[in-house]
């Protein structure tokens, strides 16, 4: 296994869906991901968080080639991935694999584990010679902590955590360098979740995998991430080292997000201020002018409606907010704040 560092770079990516109900306005589009840039490095984890519907899964699908971007570029190890010809693309995309949120619906219920794990080898012929399939499958199952006899089972005969391991084994079968994990532990109880997170940490250490790790549970993201990116309505609003962003969030949206995270033992923690967001999430079909967060931001000024803030370095991370410095200082007119 090569352990040289490789990078997945997403540059100014745009991914669109046709707008619904626009019979007359032909070719109307919703940009679910808009001019988004990020880098995932092998051996490291980039955590990605953001509001429901802000475009995280869309981004993930574009990265693994399940949805064609409508703008921007995706590069892997110095080669452009998104416009590569079919053969080259296939070779490159085996190195970037996806683990899905739902271990129940992402596995074909009519196929045994042994078939599911070897699926990629059927598509990408020559990846693993046929006579090695049995041995390699056993190796993969052992690697993810599943007993060899589980190879003969169907998904419904497995527990949630076992199914999630099968999903990881299927991704590992292609010997990827990068795993895009879309909420891989959301449906699992905390113990199975801990097993899965330990497994991902081991794989990262042993195989030098790089992760793009999408999750809603901030304690999980915090636990596994080296770096953090926060997304709002198709764009990244803050990104930097996880400890920096989590410890002292600068973007008003990041502040609200982190303050809203429930803590397991609130009575053992110092009383925290919870920033409540009011108003509805704007539709990505018609994002607000200027700053996309301004309709819900307690710090918004007239300028926020006119000029869209771009990411810029502030205190050791990058933030897309005109007033990041005052937000970081906890200043400005507060967003509706309540103490719990």
């Amino acid at each position: 296994m090569s352990t040289s560092e490789a990078r997945l770079e997403v540059r100014q990516l745009r991914v669109s869906y046709p707008a619904r109900g626009g019979l007359l306005r032909r070719a109307a589009e919703v940009h679910a991901v808009e001019r988004l840039s990020l880098t995932v490095t092998t051996g490291r984890t980039l955590g990605l968080v953001g509001e429901s519907g802000c475009g995280k899964s869309t981004l993930a699908r574009a990265i693994v080639g399940l949805r064609r971007p409508t703008g921007g570029e995706i590069w892997y190890a110095g080669e452009r991935v998104d416009d590569a010809d079919a053969a080259r693309r296939r070779r490159l995309t085996t190195q970037i694999q996806m683990v899905y949120q739902d271990p129940y619906s992402s596995l074909n219920p009519r196929k045994k584990v042994s078939f599911i794990v070897t699926e990629g080898w059927r598509v990408h012929r020559g990846q693993v010679p046929r006579d090695q399939w049995t041995d390699r499958t056993a190796e993969l199952l052992a690697r993810v902590g599943l007993a060899a006899e589980l190879a003969d089972r169907y998904p419904h005969q497995l527990s949630g955590g076992q199914r999630q391991r099968v999903g990881i084994a299927r991704a590992l079968a292609m010997s990827p360098r990068i795993l895009v994990c879309d909420e891989p532990v959301s449906a699992l109880d905390v113990s199975v979740q801990a097993q899965t997170l330990n497994l991902l940490a081991d794989l990262r250490a042993d195989l030098g995998l790089g992760y793009l790790f999408i999750a809603h549970d901030l304690s999980v993201v915090r636990h596994i991430s080296d770096d953090l990116a926060v997304m709002y309505l198709g764009r990244i609003v803050e990104t930097g080292p996880a400890a920096t962003v989590y410890g002292a969030p600068a973007h008003p949206y990041t502040r609200a997000l982190i303050s809203a995270a429930p803590v397991p033992r609130p009575w053992a923690a110092p009383p925290a201020e919870r920033i409540l967001l009011t108003g509805e999430v704007p539709s990505p079909a018609s994002p607000p002018s200027g700053c996309r967060f301004r309709t819900r931001c307690g710090l918004a000024q007239p300028r926020c409606a006119e000029v869209e803030p771009e990411l810029r370095p502030v205190a050791g991370r990058e933030v897309a907010c005109h007033y990041a410095e005052s937000s970081l200082a906890g200043g400005g007119p507060p967003v509706t704040a309540v103490t719990r």
């Binding site: 619904r20 968080v49 953001g50 509001e51 429901s52 519907g53 419904h156 005969q157 527990s159 949630g160 955590g161 076992q162 959301s186 449906a187 699992l188 109880d189 905390v190 113990s191 199975v192 979740q193 801990a194 097993q195 997170l197 330990n198 940490a201 809603h216 549970d217 901030l218 304690s219 999980v220 915090r222 636990h223 596994i224 991430s225 996880a242 400890a243 609200a256 997000l257 809203a260 995270a261 429930p262 803590v263 397991p264 033992r265 609130p266 009575w267 919870r274 409540l276 967001l277 108003g279 509805e280 999430v281 539709s283």
Partner: protein
């Protein structure tokens, strides 16, 4: 919030419930003697392993188990003094339409995609309370307002897909609350939502509960959410309740080794990246539940009699029950590997 003392008059009591499924692999027990109760106005959280029977339990209460494959073999479900399992399914359904309501994880499936949301709620008033069309619509709009949908009068005309995930979950809650149920059952109502929307929905449920004195059963894997809203906690493992008690007691002084293991699995917020300590081993297959204590193959403090004698749920302190032969030692913190 002060937890009410162990409720004198339970609204719902489930006693020794046994449910089996006829599957392709033969008949197996999903519930193996589930017992718990919920008092009027009380919030009970059900925690537990993926696959331990949380959803099957509440579906049994709501008479929503698949009729062709599920059998209630034993046990009673008593609602406000009436024994539901003795009533015809039709009467239970009627009760469950007016007195009890349920919110599922996936709000999309709960709504009819081709009917305006206002209409879907109005229908409930028309059918159940025989109100006029106009009055039903008025109440539907009021219901949407109550759950914090901005511009409810206008939004009532929209179809489900025109709402974001969080707003749609609010619509489902508005529908569940329309007939002012005395008991709301919420099965992972916020698992798919980001923490800011989750916080809004939990605040909303708390307010409604305080205003109406509604009782609630909340199923979630998120220990922080539980800590935020629950008065009491029941913990399930392998088709039984293994522990129940007041929130802080169960969190800070658990009496069952499984509960201890769960609590110890949570990532510590101040030690990101540190190796997690999940419960060792795998959950038992429902086809082969171990003899004796179902947790014994994974229990760090198991002794010889645990392999043969099944521990019953018993009172270990006021309002605190556990199904473990050695609960007193566990509470006292005697050698439990992996415990904090």
């Amino acid at each position: 919030m002060v937890a009410p003392p162990h409720a004198p008059h339970p609204l719902l009591t489930v006693d020794d419930l046994v449910v089996s499924f006829d599957g392709p692999l033969g008949t197996y027990r999903a519930l193996n003697g589930v017992s718990f109760s919920v008092g009027a106005g009380e919030t009970l959280a059900i925690l537990g392993e993926s696959g331990s029977g949380k959803s099957v339990t509440v579906r049994a209460v709501m008479a929503l188990l698949p009729r062709h494959s599920a059998t209630i073999e034993r046990g009673t479900i008593r609602y406000d003094g009436e024994e539901l399992s003795a009533l015809p399914v039709r009467r239970t359904r009627e009760l469950s339409a007016t007195e009890m309501a349920m919110v599922f994880q996936d709000s999309l499936t709960a709504l009819n995609p081709v009917v305006r949301v206002g209409q879907q709620i109005a229908e409930l008033f028309r059918v159940r309370q025989r109100t006029s069309r106009r009055e039903a619509w008025r109440r539907a709009v009021a219901g949407l307002e109550r759950v914090g949908i901005p511009n409810a009068a206008r939004r009532a005309h929209d179809y489900p897909h025109q709402f974001s995930g969080g707003m749609r979950q609010r619509v489902v809650i508005a529908m569940a609350l329309a007939l002012r149920p005395r008991l709301l059952i919420a099965d992972e109502p916020t698992t798919a939502l980001d923490v800011t929307v989750q916080a809004q929905i939990m605040d909303l449920l708390r307010e409604l509960r305080e205003a109406d004195g509604m009782a609630m059963i909340l199923i979630t894997h998120d220990l922080g959410v539980v800590a935020d809203v629950a008065d009491r906690v029941a913990v399930m493992y392998a088709g039984t309740v293994v522990e129940s008690g007041p929130l802080r007691t169960v969190y800070d002084a658990p009496a069952h080794p499984y509960t201890r293991g769960l609590m110890a699995s949570v990532p510590a917020p101040d030690r990101p990246g540190e190796r997690l300590t999940p419960i060792e081993g795998m959950p038992p297959s429902p086809l082969a539940t171990p003899a004796g204590c179902p947790f014994h193959p994974r229990c760090p403090v198991a002794r010889a009699d645990c392999r043969t004698d099944r521990p019953a749920l018993r009172v270990v302190a006021a309002g605190h029950e556990a199904a473990c032969h050695y609960a007193e030692e566990v509470m006292a913190g005697v050698d439990v590997r992996g415990a904090a």
